[in-house]
């Protein structure tokens, strides 16, 4: 994992001091809420329905036990005892008092954390594959480049007042878990004919009111040109992106209105015009220095299989299911990648208590070489667990309520805070998620249904990623009544697609039974248990599922 040197540490300390000054000016009445707004929005502080919300950055979703323990402490001391993982691998605290936020930032700085790049119209926290550095699917660990992008984009003087927020995601695995095609910029690490690794550059993806799948504007950019190429994209966007309408201000609109070809030409022209004095100096020694922090940890030499694991699976059926569902292959023999579900049946998706954070911190130190990941699907991951340790780990997770075996299953729902917390929302979303989880609570049934991604947003801004849910649910308000619009066929992976609206919206109470009929239809049409919902949908088309959705007697 990356560790701060004196430069990083000082920048974060100075940021905390700067914000303390800004909060003092606000609390003393020297500046109005209006004048304070741009300042707090540079620092992850939102004004929500009931209180200020503080969003803390977890760069590319990677953290260590000590940092997780700090979150637990913040939840206990400054909030109501819990935190919420966001769909950009960050954490939100919903009840922190403004006067306490400077202290929280000081505490975060002690463990090399901050709230920079979590709000405002700047380049936001860079996200990545939660299995980075652990999966055999990737051509190399993308995180050194995430960290380089983090540093380059932190307080960028030219790009801190963009037309709109700007999100970059990076992956190096064919199976895209970082949803890079629905980001403003997606970077997919590729190998060229000469065997060098670089980046396929995808631009203009996004969700919200007008969802777009990003387009590849450059199949390969060499590593030593990446930051200069990103600067060229950012400058074209900053100069020409629309500023007349907040809903048309994302880069996806610029790309689609300009046309991908013309947009690419503008970027290339800008890139070619850069003079030597404009290039970013990124010495190879610096790339090496940062890369070193992500060297594989001290894995033990172990056999491929584990007798301890096999014996425990034979003895404990629930454990065997959890291993099958939540543990994925590791690049190192004898290890597995463990997803800790933060979607227990009937609780708000992505919430964790202070006690659960403390437990996770301890378990990461004991079982996962002190590494934790947060996923954009609002779960946690212990990336490096010995197969021999899985049963012990499972039992401890289970006592903490963290062993739900539903990773990628129907109850592993992405859900925005909705009308319960958010002042943008038109409808509630958490209660809908809870109803669905309760309807499909039976884990054996979920396991039989297999991979199925439900994503729920309480308004058109799509924070709950409904456009890319295999089944998407969008809450809308019609004359004071909440309705839920269902979409089919969205996906956020390497075959990214925007879901299609099935028909008229449903009342909240009708959603679970309607989806039960859809699931029954899927079970009837699937060619075998191995054909996932999304694959069956692609093969037979949407019609049978639409019929099932509206077939209420």
């Amino acid at each position: 994992m990356y560790r701060y040197d004196e430069f990083d540490a000082q920048i974060v300390r100075e940021r905390a001091a700067q914000f303390r000054g800004q909060v003092e000016r606000r609390l003393s009445g020297d500046i109005t809420e209006d004048q304070f707004k741009p300042l707090r929005l540079m620092n992850g502080v939102y004004l929500q329905l009931h209180a200020y919300m503080l969003r803390i950055a977890i760069p590319y979703g990677t953290l260590r036990g000590e940092q997780m323990r700090k979150f637990a402490h913040i939840a206990r001391k400054y909030d109501k005892g819990y935190g919420h993982w966001t769909t950009r691998q960050n954490i939100q605290f919903n009840w922190v008092a403004l006067k306490d936020i400077p202290d929280v930032l000081d505490e975060l700085a002690e463990v090399e954390m901050h709230a920079i790049q979590t709000s405002g119209n700047c380049i936001r926290n860079t996200t990545s594959d939660q299995f980075a550095g652990a999966t055999a699917e990737e051509i190399e660990d993308p995180r050194p480049w995430c960290e380089i992008i983090r540093q380059w984009s932190t307080f960028h003087p030219e790009f801190s007042f963009l037309p709109r927020k700007f999100k970059i995601a990076v992956t190096a695995a064919e199976n895209d878990r970082a949803a890079i095609r629905v980001h403003d910029i997606g970077l997919h690490m590729r190998r060229n004919d000469a065997g060098e690794t670089g980046f396929e550059v995808i631009v203009g993806g996004g969700q919200g009111r007008t969802p777009h799948v990003g387009v590849t504007i450059k199949p390969f950019v060499a590593k030593d040109q990446l930051l200069d190429y990103l600067e060229a994209i950012m400058r074209v966007y900053n100069r020409f992106g629309r500023r007349d309408n907040k809903y048309k201000a994302r880069i996806k609109i610029l790309v689609s209105e300009t046309g991908a070809e013309e947009f690419t030409r503008l970027v290339d022209e800008e890139f070619e015009a850069q003079r030597d004095a404009e290039k970013i100096v990124l010495p190879q020694a610096e790339v090496d220095r940062i890369t070193q922090y992500f060297a594989p940890p001290a894995f033990e030499d172990l056999p491929d299989t584990s007798d301890v694991l096999d014996a425990a699976k034979a003895k404990d059926e629930a454990f065997a299911r959890w291993v099958r569902v939540n543990v994925r292959p590791h690049k190192q023999a004898g290890y597995g990648i463990v997803t800790i579900s933060c979607k227990p049946i009937g609780a708000p998706p992505g919430d964790v208590t202070d006690a659960q954070m403390d437990v996770t911190a301890d378990l990461a130190e004991r079982y996962s070489l002190d590494e934790i990941r947060i996923t954009h699907e609002q779960n946690m991951v212990l990336p490096h667990v010995k197969l021999d340790d899985l049963f012990d780990l499972y039992q401890e997770l289970d006592s903490a309520g963290l062993a739900t075996a539903n990773y990628e299953l129907i109850s592993d729902i992405i859900c925005c805070p909705g009308l319960d917390y958010c002042n943008l929302a038109n409808a509630r979303s958490i209660p809908v998620a809870q109803d669905l989880q309760n309807t499909f609570a039976d884990l054996e049934r979920q396991d039989d249904i297999g991979e199925l991604k439900i994503k729920i947003s309480g308004c058109i801004n799509a924070c709950g990623h409904h456009h890319v849910g295999h089944i998407g649910i969008l809450g809308v308000d019609r004359k004071g009544e909440e309705f839920y619009q269902i979409t089919f066929g969205g996906r956020a992976d390497e075959k990214a697609a925007i879901g299609q609206i099935a028909g008229p919206g449903l009342r909240a109470e009708d959603v679970p039974s309607a989806l039960e009929r859809v699931i029954e239809t899927y079970r009837e049409v699937r060619s075998s248990k191995d054909e996932r919902f999304i694959d069956a949908l692609e093969r037979v088309g949407h019609d049978p599922f639409k019929e099932a959705l509206y077939a209420a007697g």
């Binding site: 040197d5 100075e14 741009p38 003087p157 030219e158 801190s160 900053n238 100069r239 100096v281 010495p283």
Partner: protein, 147 residues
């Protein structure tokens, strides 16, 4: 409105300032008077290239603080064109954006507050290091770590 330059409040000697189009017309007719111009966010600063040697002041206008196009205009003037004269921020210029402006190549600021000089001094001292190279001559932390 107080004009802060080199950290001090100074007199603002210029009267009416032409925007880009009238400026280009005037400069074509009588180039020796072409010493000051105001860019609006839509304007392309590269059009000033023929007049760089005689221009004394380029005003960059911020009708709203949130419109960040002026930062790119300043960077292009300084780093692409090598412009050495004054770049002045005018309009909705806030204390907490001065540092971004300084780094982007601005060196003069119309600040609508009585304590303009103190506010400028405080804002410009808030950080000791910057990650990116920019128009302020800072090479950036990537390079400084290895120098």
């Amino acid at each position: 409105m107080p004009l802060v330059k080199n950290g001090e409040v100074t007199a603002n000697p210029h009267g009416e300032v032409l925007t880009l189009e009238p400026f280009l017309e005037m400069a074509a007719a009588d180039p020796k008077d072409a010493v000051i111009v105001r860019l609006m966010p839509d304007d392309c600063p590269l059009q000033l290239e023929p007049f760089l040697d005689q221009l004394e002041v380029v005003e960059i206008s911020f009708p709203r603080y949130a419109d960040g196009r002026g930062y790119s205009q300043a960077q292009l003037l300084r780093r692409r064109l090598g412009y050495k004269g004054e770049i002045r921020a005018v309009g909705d210029v806030l204390r907490d954006q001065l540092l971004f402006m300084l780094r982007s190549g601005f060196d003069a600021f119309e600040l609508g507050r009585e304590d303009a000089a103190q506010a400028f001094a405080a804002a410009s001292r808030e950080y000791s290091h910057f990650y990116q190279p920019a128009a302020d001559g800072e090479s950036g932390v990537f390079a400084r770590r290895h120098s």
